[in-house]
Symmetry: C2
Subunit: 431 residues, 2 copies
């Protein structure tokens, strides 16, 4: 025997067995369907791009994780999200696109993250973004969140909570407080959940001063229903313009979310939501599964007014949302959601020929496929027992058995693999 | 103004505008549907793999074109087809899979090819393979070709021709002729179409001798209907076992193709079909568009009995077909097929709110979406003329206009963008 190479994949890459792959694809199909029925156009971009184009915008903490390599003289990089390629795309094809440009994209991105549970180096993202030409109404921010809500509902996921903020609120407060290292403070708040609360307060105080630190600590921890939180923030009586704009925007988002069918129990206002990437300028949100917040956000997004400005002088503000489908799938496996997933879109029939009935089986298969069924035909010469064991293994619920007698009578035998019962049926009644 | 980075992608990568992307996706959906209704399971594998795993099997001429790079200490490579990852997958999950294992996979592969028309460095492949445990009936070879035929029919493509051979036929002839450098001769014949015919004959003669060279030249150029070709080859009266096995197999494939619904005018027998990769062991085929053969094969495949043997001692023979979807799309654009593509799966309605009717518009949109329509709503505050110009640009055929009067009457105005005519309709009649 020759030496064998161990068949294995890289750590941090997800690969599924057929049954789980079917569920994964079913989720992708349902989410795509939501985006399609909402009038979004599909988009696809290369996974490999020029490094200087992909890294035109600061990628923040992500930049260390990017897969980069040379091919010939060129510096190449694998895309690390679907947002930067979108910015490049709208700048590149500006004259050919209709604005507001509403697209969805489902594809793989790459980050060389430290290997840990739920973090993948290759991961699917389901993104929706809307890009305006010159301006973009705040309704779009609410619409984007409603799309994520519809996407979750389409796969019958419950117990998620959008945590929504608007960066202008905290920025306005910092301006009002004359805080100089505003962006460091924002970066710190972004890490709040991962830190010990005393350590956090100490760091915040050392950044912006003790008194202001304590006030900010109180402000970012305002809680209650969305209306209560907005009420409490409003009563801070801050007159800074950025702050007031932020409050206005988040109220508008709440108003339109309701119109778009997002229920009040689907979201909360949380001022600690910042989003790591620095291109966000208004609405920001993350999404957690209640009781499973430790798995991190499964869906994030927000408003970015200047993402495209590295590529073009055109003013192209946008708002977007990204469902991290690979991570979501991992989490849903962990919490048992995948085990109880109701997969309707599966194989309907396995046809088992017995004796010289193959031509008839092919005919029945074609008939059923034309009627929209999914049909597998056992093509190999094996014993009946082996054929039936294949049926069990692939988990098909109905097997059609065709022997020579059935051909003569233009009938089939249908075996229910769950109950074990068998009935005879005429072909015409099959469909 | 700050310096801008030119938004552009790498040469050799395909990127589509929305209208063409819709058609591309429609083709992918239809082909997937064919595979699904034929009982194949979906599969997905990482794009990045360990270099030593991907290159376990000789990749022939392809090996120079592989994207390889290091990340940390690891040697990584981008997959250059979907077949080698399949071999790795079935070896790795052997105990978890049901055999015959029938899977389809649609995904991107990478080859750093010389930049030329119709050759892409990133390209979609739509692959189907069937892997048997220990053995695999010849019916599967015919089934695989019938799937490609169904796939083409699903997108209403005509004028393609499967060019089919069986490697055992020529190998048997070479054995019978006691040709020593058989594999060099096979490699040469694989290049026949790209060579001047005199040069070809001279090279063949220098490889295997003048007399044998002339005979082989005649044999590989046998033409006519499939039955005629088989008749002529049979009458060569060669008694070599490999040869006879090859003849038997190709006859079986023809018999079952008919049963699976592949018409006789969809294929020819052509002994010059070898397939570049050296893992094929029996049936081999390529597919050309009649009159556009110069674009190369759009769909190829064949039988491989030993592909998995680098990873496992299990005997896992397989047969597969791959549609090169990116190249096919390019060719179909060139020959005008895409321009006249009948895209049914497109946006049904654009809703345009006039005045304070937005809530009502959202309601109508939800109502239509629930009925299965694809609906875009114009969310931004713009002049009516601009909204209508957006409708024209995105190419929607029906616009629903809703002003305050319509709310009061529970009606909508439907404007046909093709004829320009407008009608009023009650909501209930809309769906």
């Amino acid at each position: 025997m020759r030496e064998k190479i161990k068949p294995s994949i890289l750590p941090g890459f997800m690969e599924l067995l057929p049954q789980e792959q079917r569920i994964f694809n079913d989720m992708v199909n349902k989410i795509s369907r939501v985006y399609e029925t909402n009038g979004l156009v599909p988009m696809d971009t290369p996974i490999i791009e020029k490094e200087e184009v992909l890294l035109a915008k600061s990628a923040g903490e992500t930049s260390k994780q990017i897969y980069k390599f040379k091919k010939g003289d060129r510096n190449l990089a694998l895309r690390f999200d679907l947002t930067v390629p979108l910015a490049r795309y709208v700048a590149q094809y500006f004259n050919d696109l209709s604005f507001p440009f509403k697209r969805y994209q489902i594809g793989k991105s790459y980050r060389g993250e430290r290997n840990q549970k739920g973090r993948y180096r290759e991961f699917y993202q389901c993104d929706v973004d809307i890009i305006g030409n010159g301006k973009l109404d705040i309704k779009n921010d609410a619409f984007i969140i409603s799309l994520a809500s519809q996407a979750f509902k389409s796969i019958k996921l419950t117990g998620y909570k959008f945590q929504i903020s608007n960066r202008k609120i905290l920025e306005g407060i910092f301006e009002d407080f004359k805080v100089e290292n505003k962006s460091e403070a924002m970066t710190l708040i972004d890490k709040y959940d991962k830190m010990d609360k005393n350590d956090f307060l100490r760091e915040l105080e050392s950044l912006i001063g003790e008194e202001k630190g304590k006030i900010i600590m109180n402000i970012i921890n305002i809680d209650g229903s969305s209306k209560e939180v907005i009420g409490k923030i409003t009563r801070l009586n801050i007159s800074n313009e950025t702050f007031l704009k932020g409050i206005d925007e988040i109220k508008e988002v709440m108003k339109y979310m309701k119109i778009f069918g997002v229920n009040e129990d689907e979201y909360v206002i949380n001022l600690k939501i910042i989003r790591g990437l620095d291109y966000y300028t208004g609405t920001v949100f993350e999404t957690f599964l209640c009781g499973n917040e430790n798995y991190g956000s499964i869906c994030s997004g927000g408003r970015y007014d200047n993402l495209v400005d590295k590529y073009t002088d055109n003013i192209l503000p946008g708002v977007g949302v990204s469902i991290g489908l690979t991570r979501l799938f991992y989490v849903l496996k962990e919490i048992g959601f995948i085990d109880s997933y109701d997969l309707k879109d599966k194989l309907d029939y396995l046809i088992i020929p017995i004796g010289e009935t193959f031509e008839y089986c092919a005919e029945i298969s074609k008939f059923l496929r034309t009627s929209g069924y999914k049909v597998d035909v056992y093509l190999d010469d094996d014993k009946f027992k082996k054929k039936l064991s294949y049926a069990n293994k692939i988990g098909v619920s109905k097997v059609i058995i065709i022997g020579e007698e059935e051909i003569n009578n233009r009938q089939v035998v249908i075996k229910d693999m769950v109950s074990g019962s068998q009935i005879k049926s005429s072909i015409d009644r099959l469909a």
